[in-house]
Symmetry: C2
Subunit: 237 residues, 2 copies
Amino acid sequence: MARIENLNLSQRVTNELGQAIIGGHYTSESGLPTEAKLCEEYGISRTAIREAVKMLAAKGLISSRPRQGILVEPAANWNLYDTSVLKWMLASSPSLLILKEFLQMRLAVEPEAAALAAKFGSDDAIDRIELALDVMQQAVGDPDVSLHDADLAFHTSILYASNNRFFYQLRDFISTALNVTIQHTTPAKGNDQSVVDDHAKIYQAIRNRQSDQVKSMMTDLIEEAIVVIEAKIKQQA
Amino acid sequence: MARIENLNLSQRVTNELGQAIIGGHYTSESGLPTEAKLCEEYGISRTAIREAVKMLAAKGLISSRPRQGILVEPAANWNLYDTSVLKWMLASSPSLLILKEFLQMRLAVEPEAAALAAKFGSDDAIDRIELALDVMQQAVGDPDVSLHDADLAFHTSILYASNNRFFYQLRDFISTALNVTIQHTTPAKGNDQSVVDDHAKIYQAIRNRQSDQVKSMMTDLIEEAIVVIEAKIKQQA
DNA sequence: GGCAATTTGTACGTATGTATA
DNA sequence: GTATACATACGTACAAATTGC
């Protein structure tokens, strides 16, 4: 998403309403105010409101019918793989529990994606993984290079190499999940090199077309994170 | 999605334009006609066109800026987990290749979902799986009961029992994938009972909280389908 | 069936931004 | 650079359709 000041009016309203809905300010029972009220609240025209309503409806958050007004859809219908919806969710409830759900999804998706990359990835696509790994290696010891960003690029490039559009489509979701994961699993610095080494092994296995090995390696990588998080959750309770 | 005649104007236009974009009638180079032209073509007001454009933008299919007009986004940005987008894709290219991609995703998601259901599923949620299985059993020999529908319900109820909203959110995607799968993998009738038996074993493993076993059983179930499809693809070539 | 409330659809005017000459 | 033309962005006003009482 671009900077807020670059967004047009209906997009800004969509953002505010979307966050309010996911934050629970409007519920399935209460619904939203009428179009007219929303115009007053935001001091804008009906056209802008209606466009925002249509965008939120397209994301599964609301529905609107004459006489009934604008209704909040059950959370089960929200399109969680929409980048905006994901962002709003994270903003409203950044808990360890959602992180655990993220990791469970990563555990399903990433090992299989890595296995597909080993089986079907084009040489060019695997070059991209290597490139991301190189940057990760540079980042060790050089504070000007972001290990974090290179880590995201590494995992995303594997999704790309899977040669399956449905896996690659999950890049924003996985990036978001990985983002939150990193924030919680790198408390002590200094183990950067070992992180890079683990990723290097995964890259090599993909390059060598060892799909079974890479699948179990990626599984191990994510399960390590799950162990850390489950310990933290217990600690909280 | 409701019946077409129940949709309002902007939703109908969204459908037509969405299908045209995914079908390749408008490309990343050509873009779409101007709002004014679209009004003429469809014989409706600019407001309706604008609302449709906003909905398609919310699904990642297009973007619009002054002077540049309405641009088609790269296919990599389309929100494939949106039910409408998925439907449009299937309508425009119902090939065996997309089915293979579906199955690869199912192989990632469903075994893990079943394992989570075994670990964390509530008793109520597992009851739902049992219910779907019962209907599957009834369907064997009774043509009034749909094995197909019960099969979908079985797999969906496992996603629900995973107790993870991101897995359950994939129910439409998995249902669509399963739908296409069944069409291609049940050529000969008469093996209904063996299909039901396979599902019964999976249910029992979930009920007994055997997460490792259920994971490998679900993996086997889907890999069987993959073998059939890959044979068909080879046959075509 | 009639009435009221609310979204839906239409029409048109002005403003704003942006590519191009 | 500046001006111009063109396309979307935004606003207001009104008529139509739908639904609950």
